[in-house]
């Protein structure tokens, strides 16, 4: 099959006659002697598919230029994400074009890998499967959450070959939510949480703006519920021992002692009942034994705060309580979920903001306890062949106490379909690289009712075959059946998929492909609280380890999830928004605790639990609970094995899972993430992490501003805005056509870094590595800053995306000796790379320091260079660069408008950062158009310019954060260490 055919098949308007899938395709170079009708050079084709970087299943549009995907954007029609995408989704391209992608099957011989042909590889696989005949349950299949056809096919395949039931391995499977719902409502499901419909959100450790369940969906909903709009806003209270990114967006962050979330939730419920704040008295029994005073003592949360939380939550019409982020999931996981359910039930939220019916696909994850049983079976020699799907990495993501690697070593034959080397493929005997999800057919239903359809968006960049195709072929050869017959009659997975979808699409296949799937309304399922509810155990979570140790909070990384994202250099270099650390993992220690232990920032600390030890550099945090340490999960290895210069792999790894026990929460079978106390010992070595923001203290410079809610409401009514007046001897600049401008709503920004990664993807921004990044040489055009106001132990965090401000009186322009920096007549600060000599005067004179210099010639290791956006220049050594407001998109938008013989309107031009923002905090538009959103927002009473006293007159306007003045919350939590 050639390229022309490929495009005929998959173009969104395309033909139906897909004959042979694309697995035989080899990489071809582009030249087309006879141009393809569907392929116009310079014009992008867009393909709808589903993001598989995590189980949230957001809809994606892949922008294909000349046969290769160069950018991902959220699918605006997809119900989960409505056009937005998180940082991990944006960075999926780096997995697609990863330099380490396995090309063709590889067989392990001793420690070395040898490339083998597909025929030989499949023959070997078939032989090993054939040898299983008569040995039931000796075949095990482990895959990531596949809620669609591939999952069904895997089940069928495994069953046909006499294997064990398939294990769906998701390290963050929310088993406790399911068991809690089973206990409370009699429904084993993860429901839809309607953040957008809530007035008050009360979260017990649920990091829903980072990874919890479906973070983009939650962030969108949260922004609708919480972002200040014309005086209206919601309230968000977050209970967690660590100030996470999610906690930073809370109006009130309540710091509790680790493991006391269930107790706090029950105490809140009890106070609601006691205070007569809820009419529903049925839950009295469940909280009869709860003593709020004792809870206040144990959790370190003052009783006043508990009362206040109860009152606020009860007053909401409706509210929403969520709970059980990974970091707080331990032996009390199910108790916490039950407590959360009771809170929701008591406040009358069930059915309003907690909606059963469109249940999340997480309900199909194999509970960890069963995964553990499989591992034990492997260790006991019961498994002869282990088949690992793409996206699973049990040797890394399962608790160290389970000793997974040793168990896998006991399996005589391990086949991995991973297309990137990881800790588990290192243990495999045969690697059969699966196609990347952007190269594959497939489907994924994140919710009941949302059936996302996946299509190949380009030909495979490396030799790979879809897992489904390989299994069908091998399965048939083992069973001795022919194509079209037997239990596995389909020739390819694509054929299977089409067959499975026929009843759904009923002939409207192209429409479904075009839309990215099929959405259906799912009737809400009515649930009732179980009649008999025993008292819920409100004790603190049980922690193993030394009594004087510190509770280990292992939490999923915003950037790497369970480690799947760690191979992406973009995600490594974009800093964690809270700590602003790039590249290295770290252990977060309370500053006072660290002082007590004599630990300084950057000291390498040995973190020891009863189950293992890891060595990590220390990061001192003034806000973390003194009795806890926090380690992000997911930091794996340096991005490319072929290029170690970014950061040595040994430094890039530090897996807190190694510290965790094998045991599970008895009630739910969930892994116990919060279950150990650890001891910290200084190793004497130093490895300061690369912290990209010099300080979080604004030094009264009002870079990120805030107003309190009363004031903001008052101003919103009156519509006043005071502005610095800067008299000038020069005449005002006139804009004949457009004047482009942007606004950033600091109140809506949650600091998720999606914009920074989208910008990097769109604008060919290179990656520089740890050493260079920590030395102020990172090249990000857009950086996300965290500014902390108030008490350092309990700060109000303000997130500020900072990029070129496109000043009208730009300090960078007059100092450039060659006019490389100049003012365009549409209000941009242009930068002519060809003219730039590299005096760097502009870089000194820019008060925002958003201009980036090419200190070296940066490279894009093959095949990453294919991802480069052909519309954007790749800059040479020695020139300055900076945000262009996506000038290539402006040009394209103006062209489209001109074709329609009209002026550019709102929405014609969307910058990359704006496009991907889950909370729509960024707006771009024409400032001369009085009706445009950007104009309206620029005149908002909350509008301000960063460093406006310098008189630079930026084209980027920020809207102050609205701080909800709550009853003063005393610095929470003495806690118990």
């Amino acid at each position: 099959m050639n390229r022309r055919d490929f495009f005929k098949i998959v173009a969104t308007t395309g033909a139906t006659a897909a004959a042979a899938g694309c697995q035989q395709a080899t990489e071809q170079i582009l030249p087309l002697v006879v141009p393809n009708d569907n392929l116009v050079p310079g014009v992008a084709a867009w393909f709808a598919t589903v993001c598989r970087e995590c189980p949230a299943g957001c809809g994606v549009l892949a922008r294909n230029r000349e046969g290769r995907v160069v950018k991902l954007e959220g699918n605006a029609e997809h119900p989960v994400n409505r056009g937005a995408l998180c940082a991990r989704g944006q960075a999926a391209l780096q997995g697609l074009y990863h330099p380490d992608r396995v090309a063709g099957p590889h067989r392990r011989e001793g420690e070395a890998w040898r490339a083998v042909g597909w025929d030989d590889a499949l023959k070997l696989f078939g032989e090993r499967l054939g040898a299983l005949k008569g040995k039931p349950r000796a075949l095990a299949v482990v895959s990531q959450l596949e809620s669609g056809s591939l999952g069904a096919l895997l089940d069928r395949w495994s069953q046909a070959l006499g294997g064990r039931p398939r294990v769906t391995l998701e390290p963050f499977g929310y088993e406790a939510i399911r068991s809690g719902n089973q206990l409370t409502f009699g429904r084993d499901a993860v429901p839809y949480h309607a953040f957008e419909a809530a007035e008050v959100v009360l979260s017990f450790g649920a990091d829903f703006l980072e990874t919890w369940v479906s973070n983009v969906q939650a962030a969108r909903g949260f922004a609708r519920m919480h972002a200040f709009r014309e005086g209206k806003t919601g309230t968000f209270i977050h209970v967690e021992p660590r100030q996470s990114l999610t906690a930073s967006s809370a109006d009130e962050w309540v710091r509790n002692a680790p493991g006391t979330e269930a107790a706090v939730a029950l105490a809140v419920l009890r106070l609601m009942l006691e205070g007569g704040l809820t009419a529903d008295k049925r839950y009295g029994d469940a909280v009869a034994a709860v003593d709020p005073k004792r809870v206040a003592e144990e959790s370190g949360v003052p009783l006043e705060t508990l009362k206040h939380v109860a009152k606020t939550f009860a007053s909401a019409r409706p509210g929403l309580a969520v709970g059980g982020g990974v970091a707080v999931t331990g032996s009390q996981a199910t108790a916490l979920q039950v407590a959360v359910n009771l809170l929701n039930a008591a406040a009358g939220n069930v059915g309003k903001t907690v909606r059963f019916g469109p249940d999340h696909a997480y309900g199909r994850v194999t509970p960890y306890a069963e995964v553990a049983r499989l591992v034990q079976a492997m260790a006991g020699g019961e498994v002869d062949v282990l088949v690992l799907g793409a996206g699973v990495n049990p040797a890394f993501t399962l608790p160290g106490g389970l000793k997974v690697a040793e168990a896998i070593r006991k399996v005589p034959f391990v086949v991995s379909f991973s297309n990137l080397p990881d800790e588990t493929t290192a243990l495999a005997h045969l690697v059969l690289p699966d196609t990347h999800w952007l190269e594959s057919w497939g489907d994924y239903a994140p919710h009941d009712g949302v059936l996302g359809l996946m299509q190949p968006t380009m030909q495979p960049i490396r030799e790979a075959r879809p897992m489904g195709d390989v299994l069908l072929e091998v399965g048939r050869s083992v069973l001795g059946s022919e194509e079209g017959k037997g239990p596995l009659p389909w020739s390819t997975f694509e054929q299977y998929l089409r067959a499975a979808w026929e009843p759904i699409v009923k002939g409207q296949w192209e429409a479904a492909l075009h839309q990215g799937g099929v959405w259906r309304d799912v009737p809400p399922a009515a649930v009732t609280v179980a009649a008999k509810l025993d008292g819920v155990d409100a004790g603190p979570a049980k922690l193993e380890g030394p009594a004087d140790g510190l509770a280990l909070l292992a939490y999923p990384s915003l950037r790497f999830y369970d480690g799947r994202g760690a191979t992406r250099a973009w995600l490594q270099e974009v800093p964690d928004p809270m700590t602003q650390i790039a590249w290295d993992p770290w252990v977060e220690i309370n500053a006072q605790t660290a002082t007590r232990l004599g630990i300084r920032q950057g000291d390498v600390v040995r973190v020891t639990s009863p189950h293992g030890a890891v060595e990590l550099p220390a990061y001192l945090s003034p806000s973390l609970h003194p009795g806890a340490v926090a380690v992000p999960i997911g930091h794996r290895y340096a991005p490319y094995h072929v290029r170690l210069k970014y950061v040595p792999p040994a430094q890039g790894a530090g897996n807190p899972m190694a510290l965790l026990p094998a045991g599970a929460d008895a009630a739910s079978g969930a892994p116990a993430f919060l279950s150990v106390r650890v001891a910290l010992v200084k190793t004497g070595a130093r490895r300061p992490p690369a912290v990209l923001q010099a300080t979080h203290d604004q030094d009264h410079r009002e870079i990120a501003r805030h107003v309190d809610l009363t004031r903001a409401r008052d101003d919103a009514l009156r519509g006043t805005r005071k502005e610095h007046d800067h008299p000038s001897m020069y005449s005002e600049q006139r804009y004949r056509g457009y004047r482009w401008g942007m606004t950033v709503d600091v109140d809506a920004c949650i600091g998720c870094q999606a914009c920074a990664v989208a910008c990097q993807a769109e604008n060919n921004v290179p990656v520089v590595g740890k050493a260079e990044a920590s030395y102020g040489r990172q090249l990000h055009w857009l950086r996300l800053e965290r500014w902390a106001e108030g008490d350092p132990a309990h700060p109000q965090n303000l997130f500020l995306p900072m990029f070129c401000q496109h000043c009208e009186v730009a300090p960078c322009e007059p100092v450039c000796p060659v006019f490389a920096a100049y003012r365009t007549d549409e209000g941009l600060n242009g930068q002519v790379y060809n003219r730039c000599v590299g005096t760097r005067y502009c870089g000194n004179n820019c008060p925002y320091h958003v201009r980036r210099f090419n200190w070296w010639n940066y490279d894009f290791p093959a095949p990453l260079e294919i991802q480069l956006n052909p519309d954007v220049t790749v800059r040479q050594l020695g020139v300055m660069e900076k945000c262009t407001m996506c000038v290539q998109r402006i040009v394209a938008g103006k062209d489209r408008a001109r074709e329609d013989k009209r002026a550019v309107r709102d929405g014609d031009i969307v910058t990359a950062c704006q496009q991907t923002c889950p909370t729509q905090a960024i707006t771009f538009g024409n400032l001369k158009d009085e009706g445009s959103t950007v104009s309206t927002q620029s005149h908002s009473p909350r509008a301000y310019h960063v460093l406006d006293e310098l008189g630079t007159r930026p084209g980027v306007t920020y809207l102050s954060k609205v701080v909800r003045a709550h009853e003063p919350s005393p610095a929470a939590g003495k806690g118990h260490a």
Binding site: Y775, R783, V818, V837, R840, Y841, W855, G878, L947
Partner: protein, 457 residues
């Protein structure tokens, strides 16, 4: 050369007035084939220069990242050293032109060396814009050359002003230097033979010493002196505007032009002493470079040093009195932050060390003068460092504050620039008279057959 064996009148006979013949002989003696010590110095300087060029080649090939610059210090040691050398280049013109117009006679024995120093210092400084530019191969974009695209440099940019100021300064001071050399080269021509004679003959431009020639020479010299005088003030003022025109706290100040000019004279005289004292010692020129010359220069160093101290106080005061948050924060950080030691070094070398020159004996003691001069040079290098690096380190935007750390590459290039300067100067003193034969003769009585007759003139 067929000059007779020198009879140095220096040393013990320092009080004896030299005669015209002595002058000719002693000055031409400085051009005698050099000894081992000279070659040892030349080898060392040549080696350092070679290292500097290698480092520069490395930086051009791999990129500006080889120098330790970063955000926020987009400028660092290169501009520091550039401004330092421009400052050094000041004293020469001051001595040759301004002091000439003021008829300060003590300038005669040192002005040749000072002028040479000026030109070499400007030649050294002129390398730095190239070394500093990210794409030095396009540095010609800064020149207003005619081109098809009608692209001109940006005349608003102080860097373009620099280009004009420095090229003007270099050309005027070079012409002034060459004009002053003509009669001396003629003397050289007359004293040499063979190919040297032919070269000197060409350079002497047919000088015969006729009345007409002398009259024209005097006119021209006076004219160039008048032309060069405003440049003494303008060059360093323009260089100071590189900083004063920028927004950066610690740079944005109207104080900068006089502050820089004074500092330049201060460091320029120190450099003259650093060059002239060894010359006097090794060439035994004590009869020409006398203690009163040293005393006069030492006084100038003292005065400019005191003025500089006054400017430092002004700088501190205006920062504090402005009430500007950014200025105050920047100043406080410069005093207490990472680079406090650089500021301390500067204050000690520029404000405290020269105070010893209040003591008359120190002003004529070569050793003390030499030490003070070296300290002043160090102090003035750090002055520029303190303006550039710590100010940028702690400017408007706290998120990007950062510390600059030098690398081997940029340090080697800086050392190489000193080697380049000394290579030029060491070469010069062996091919050209480093004392002005003509002007030294002016200060001593003309030779007469009858000594009494001479006295009557």
């Amino acid at each position: 050369m067929s000059a007779p064996e020198p009879r140095p009148i220096a040393g013990g006979a320092a009080t004896a007035e030299p005669t015209f013949a002595d002058v000719n002989r002693d000055v031409l003696a400085t051009l005698r084939p050099p000894g081992n010590l000279y070659f040892a110095w030349m080898s060392l300087v040549g080696l350092l220069l070679a290292c500097g060029f290698l480092a520069w080649a490395y930086q051009i090939f791999y990129g500006m990242g080889a120098a330790g610059k970063r955000t926020p210090q987009m400028w660092a040691m290169y501009i520091t050293t550039f401004v330092f050398w421009i400052g050094i280049g000041h004293a020469g013109t001051l001595i040759s032109a301004v002091l000439y117009l003021f008829r300060a006679r003590w300038r005669t024995s040192i002005y040749r060396a000072a002028e040479a120093m000026t030109i070499f210092a400007v030649l050294t400084a002129g390398l730095f814009p190239l070394i500093h530019a990210g794409r030095m191969w396009f540095a010609y974009f800064l020149l207003p050359y005619p081109n098809q695209r009608y692209l001109w440099p940006n005349f608003k940019s102080p860097l373009v002003w620099d280009v004009f100021a420095i090229s003007t300064y270099l050309s005027i001071s070079t012409v002034f230097f060459i004009v002053g050399l003509v009669p001396d080269i003629a003397a050289l021509r007359d004293a040499s033979t063979g190919w040297r004679r032919r070269i000197y003959a060409m350079l002497a431009l047919g000088w015969e010493g006729s009345d007409r020639q002398w009259r024209h020479y005097r006119r021209a010299y006076g004219l160039f002196a008048a032309l060069a005088t405003p440049l003494v003030l303008s060059v360093h003022s323009v260089v100071s505007w590189d900083f004063a025109m920028a927004l950066v706290p610690g740079w944005h100040s109207t104080l900068f032009a006089p502050f820089f000019v004074d500092g330049a004279i201060f460091s320029g005289f120190a450099m003259v002493l650093v060059l002239v004292l060894p010359m006097r010692h090794f060439f035994r020129l004590h009869a020409y470079i006398r203690d009163r010359h040293l005393d006069a220069m030492a006084k100038l160093i003292l005065v400019t040093g005191l003025v500089l101290t006054y400017f430092y106080i002004c700088e501190l005061f205006t920062s504090w009195y402005s009430g500007d948050h950014f200025e105050k924060a920047s100043l406080f950080w410069r005093l207490t932050g990472t680079y406090w030691w650089a500021l301390g070094t500067m204050y000690f070398c520029n404000c405290v060390a020269p105070l010893i020159l209040f003591w008359r004996k120190a002003r004529t003691n070569s050793v003390i003068l030499y030490i003070v001069s070296v300290l002043v040079l160090i102090g003035m290098w750090f002055e520029r460092f303190n303006i550039i690096v710590p100010s940028l380190a702690h400017d408007f935007y706290p998120a990007t504050w950062g510390i600059y750390v030098p690398t081997i590459t940029d340090s080697t290039i800086i050392v190489g620039s000193f080697a380049w300067f000394f290579l030029l100067f060491l070469g010069f003193i062996k091919v050209m008279p480093s004392l002005s034969i003509v002007e030294v003769k002016e200060t001593i009585p003309p030779p007469m057959k009858d000594a009494r007759h001479a006295g009557l003139h």
